[in-house]
């Protein structure tokens, strides 16, 4: 399953936390037509670089699927940012 939602949390110095839920599914829906349009170009680039385009697509898809449950948290002094992908 590809990630559907990303939660971005921003914490300012006043301990206020802004939490944004990013619906990634909408992003994917927007990107699919673009990917379809660009696929011939990507195919040609892969052939020029001597990379198997089907393998490249497969690896790209696996990376996208594996992004689930990725979490990055950075805190500096009293401010912080956190990104979770579900």
């Amino acid at each position: 399953m590809i990630p559907l939602v990303a939660v971005v949390s921003l914490r300012g110095r006043e301990s206020r936390t802004l939490r944004v839920w990013v619906p990634l599914i909408l992003l994917w829906l927007l990107l699919v037509p673009l990917a379809v349009l660009l696929s011939p170009l990507i195919f040609i680039v892969c052939l020029i670089c001597r990379v198997n385009p089907f393998r490249a697509f497969s690896v790209g898809w696996q990376i996208l699927r594996a992004l689930n449950d990725t979490e990055v948290e950075i805190e500096h002094r009293s401010a912080g940012v956190s990104i979770c992908v579900f």
Binding site: C49, R50, V51, N52, R55, A56, V59, Q62, I63, R65, A66, L67, N68, D69, T70, E71, V72, E73, I74, E75, H76, R77, S78, G80
Partner: protein, 148 residues
């Protein structure tokens, strides 16, 4: 009869240990889960397959207001996919990288790295645990890398 139990009883009959000691040894044997039991198998299975690689950095510099903390959780699946991505590197790029590595005096051939070897390497990461603790006058830095 269990081999260990038989040895304990033999030691008792030979007078090497007292009845109390024999009783304690037998009860200790009973408390210990048998080798190859389902619990052991499930424990080793879960231990062998960690789900995430965790990187934690905790840094505190002198003269700054507060510490800097970084906490990254990377799914092992992402590492595996990333390894496969490395397999897509074109031969020309590999040759260039090899030349650059050789120029540094390192005898290493990147083209010898096979995806199956890297898979094995990632599987072995389950036992990885890196703990770095640096303390000096200017900074106090702790880095932890482990699988969970």
């Amino acid at each position: 009869m269990n081999e260990h139990r038989r040895q304990i009883l033999q030691m008792l009959s030979e007078g090497k240990i007292s009845a109390d000691e024999a009783e304690r040894l037998i009860s200790a044997l009973e408390d210990r889960p048998p080798v190859g039991s389902s619990q052991n198998v499930s424990e080793s299975a879960t231990k062998a397959r960690p789900k995430y690689l965790r990187v934690q950095v905790d840094s505190e510099e002198a003269g700054h207001e507060g510490p800097t903390k970084v906490n990254v959780r990377v799914p092992m699946q992402l590492l595996r996919a990333g390894v496969k991505l490395a397999g897509l590197i074109p031969q020309q790029a590999l040759n260039r990288a090899n030349q650059a590595i050789h120029a540094q005096g390192i005898r290493f051939d990147l083209s010898q790295i096979k995806p199956e070897n890297l898979e094995e390497l990632i599987d072995q990461l389950s036992d990885l645990s890196v703990d770095v603790d640096q303390k000096d006058r200017e900074a106090n830095v702790k880095v932890k890398v482990f699988c969970e």
